[in-house]
Amino acid sequence: MTMNRGAIEQLRKAVGADHVVSDPHDLVIFERDASITGSLPDAIVFPFGAQEVSTVVKIARAHGLPVVPRGAGTGLSGGAVTIRGGIALSLARMHRILEIDPVSRTAMVEPGVVNADLSVEAARKGLFYAPDPSSQKACTIGGNAAENSGGPHCLYYGVTTNHIIGMEAVLADGSIRWVGGDDPDRPGLDLLGMLVGSEGTMCVITRIQVRLLPIPEAVRTLMAAFPTIETASHAVSSVIGHGIVPAALEMMDEVTVGAVEAHYHAGYPTDAGAVLLVEVDGLTESAEELMVEIRRILEANEAFACKLAADDAERQLLWAGRKGAIGALGRIKPNYYLHDGVVPRTRLPEVLHSVGEIGRHYRLPVANVFHAGDGNLHPNILFDLREPGVMDKVEKAGEEMLRACIDAGGTLSGEHGIGLEKNAFMPWIFTPDDLQQMHRVKDVVDPKGMFNPGKVFPDPTRRDARLVARSGVAAEANWW
């Protein structure tokens, strides 16, 4: 689709000429998000404030242009990719923290606020924002809300939807609406819950009210090594079987540990088949008490080389390895592709076994780094894009790994979203009637389908059936 000059002129008038990009050379920067298929927008627009967003939406509507909202572009499912062209609507200029209220423990932010910046700011008042995606140094609260993002600490604290109290959103008719609010039992349909996680297909989020939590008195972080993924998985189940839900329970396999250790020197034993990071927080006494118990359980399940972070620096180092894992994988192969299927946690060992088999079958190295506590896998398929024909193999392997998750009673995505990447697989888990229910909602909220077309639902008109056209470059992913 090419945008007519009239539309461009109207957009320039609406947000200022400096805030509309339409030169084909410049459009390339918004061609893709943090992975998969790229596709050029016709224009990139940087509005400031809900009023400008509303005007842009009305212009797009008048010209029949798709609108694809975009935060930091760190998404992994193609949510911000303008697969049908149109307007890439960047919320980057709207990045103010409007208010932090220590009494009600809430914050009001604009969508472009970077996740980690909010917690840094809230910390001055003894508070933090719980959802912590691994990309938190770059990703935005608006993007997190659109994707209902997770993170390591969601095991105990819950995902994004559990922490958003209200939002201002611009709907397809250009109206600016407030949904949710701090009345805890609002009468009426839960529009807020419906919009969070709708992947940019229902609205443009322009303001977000989030819940903040008091920073816990104490945090204890333990690293434990295991001979195999299986033993580590059993240990995880055993911890939870003892009635303990830690703040985070993260696992890395042998391949990941090797790469991470070479890169960060986090102190992970390189002879381990798997490394587990366990974190508990709360009262000092409770954290100590729990950690003693957890360590006992882990050691009864073949853990070795247990190491408790002695101070915050050591804790940060242990976490740097986990959060930076994908960047470190660049040491093995320059490119990666990862899925985020979820399985019932007890099925982890067998599914990880299948994932390994699939990798071997396609002769592709696979590095697993994932949220073991809630059964959320992150198998990273490692490859070199320059190798002819490799993309087909990567694509097939990824699809088979997801299939293994579904066969084990799991689901397609735990925290990355369906987007463009997995919409073709939606019929694996949803019947036509299930999908039709979702479509009913979409048709009410966005009857012309202008917001982020071609996402979430299977798209029979998809011009590019390829899952992975350009995949993530590990070396670029140093915020991971």
């Binding site: 819950g158 609406r177 349909l189 819950g193 709360g282 006494e285 946690r345 007890t346 689901t411 979409k442």
Partner: protein, 369 residues
């Protein structure tokens, strides 16, 4: 009977498929259907315009799947909450759903009504741990949303849309939850005194502890004010909190008794936390109420004067809150309305309702949408 109106027919399907078929047929015939679970929340909403078919879920009370090690459970909608909790307790687990007006709530009825209880202070409401739903729609179809795993962003989160919708978009037939291990150690503490100001200060003190209570209730049910807090954590942790708070030990049996509170006339006051005590002061003395100072919700019993009721509601709405009837005689409901001022997004809610229930088959007139 709902608000004095009885149904011509009652149907008690034995399966989701049967229920969906009955609903689809009723809708096609232009009948008005009210889904009935345990009947505990039937007092909610405005008096129905019509009522032809009572669709009871009590024939669908099976445990579909429970995997303690995965912390997930799936049940049919007609299962009583107590039966589910008993099942979970055998594995040392529980669902932190402890609504008032029990016992006898069914899981489906609870989700449709959106009721919650004291534990929401720590665990949130069903909104926070409901992971999957199966719903019968007025066109006779069955549709699922979510799944059976604890973390899931596949597709739209339509669980949330049905939760608290009083069955006006569809009838919940099955639900999946994330469950929780019982706390390692637990104790209850109480405080009693005459004045609201001091009680509120005590509540604030409890809420600002390094490990705040998982539930905190302030009651005025005749003769003074009582605060009861529920402390959960490790043994040493709970001991420390008891020491720091300095309240009296309370009987752990309090919570079960407390959940039985309900009335022929009661309403739910809900507002941002900071505005709750001001509204409680407005209730005409001697008012009977129980409040959640950490949440911003209170339940008010036995109000009589419709004008006073409306005045409190308007004050709540001016603060961005609400005062919703949970049960009242039909005449009182007609005088004041069950829901109060419609939200600003009511147009969008109505369009959603029309898309799901174009012939207004489900509980016509009861819900605010």
């Amino acid at each position: 009977m709902v608000d004095g109106l009885g149904a011509a027919t009652t149907s008690r399907p034995a399966s989701a498929e049967e229920l969906a078929a009955a609903l689809g047929e009723a809708a096609a015939a232009g009948l008005a259907v009210i889904p009935v679970g345990g009947g505990r929340a039937l007092g909610m909403g405005d008096p129905p315009e019509r009522f032809d078919l009572a669709l009871e879920t009590s024939g669908m009370d099976r445990l579909v799947d429970y995997s303690p090690a995965d912390l997930t459970v799936t049940v049919e909608a007609g299962m009583p909450l107590e039966a589910l909790q008993a099942e979970l307790a055998r594995a040392g687990q529980f669902l932190p759903l402890d609504p008032f007006g029990g016992p006898g709530h069914t899981v489906g009825g609870l989700l449709a009504s959106g009721w919650s209880g004291p534990l929401r202070l720590r665990y949130g409401t069903a909104r926070d741990y409901l992971v999957g739903l199966r719903v019968a729609l007025p066109d006779g179809r069955l549709a699922r949303s979510g799944g059976r795993v604890v973390k899931n962003v596949s597709g739209y989160d339509l669980n949330k849309l049905h939760l608290g919708a009083l069955g006006s978009l569809g009838v919940i037939v099955e639900a999946s939850f994330k469950v929780y291990p019982k706390p390692l150690s637990e104790l209850s503490l109480g405080w009693a005194g005459p004045g609201l100001e001091e009680a509120w200060a005590q509540a604030d003190r409890a809420l600002s502890l390094a490990m705040p209570p998982v539930a905190l209730e302030l009651l005025q049910l005749g003769g003074g004010l009582t605060l009861v807090g529920r402390i959960a954590g490790t043994e040493e942790g709970t001991r420390r909190i008891r020491r720091e708070l300095g309240w009296q030990d309370a009987d752990d049996g309090f919570w079960e008794e407390h959940a039985r509170h309900g009335a022929e006339r009661w309403a739910r006051l809900s507002v941002r936390r900071g505005a709750l005590s001001g509204l409680l002061r407005m209730l005409p003395e001697p008012a009977r109420w129980m409040a959640q100072p950490g949440v911003g919700v209170a339940h008010w019993f036995d109000f009589e004067d419709p004008d006073r009721f409306v005045a409190v509601r308007q004050a709540a709405e001016a603060e961005g809150g609400s005062l919703v009837l949970l049960a009242a005689p039909p005449d009182f409901k007609r005088q004041v309305g069950a829901w109060g001022r419609p939200p600003a997004t009511i147009d969008l809610m109505r369009r959603l309702r029309d898309a799901f229930d174009p012939r207004r088959t489900l509980s016509p007139g009861r819900y605010l949408v």
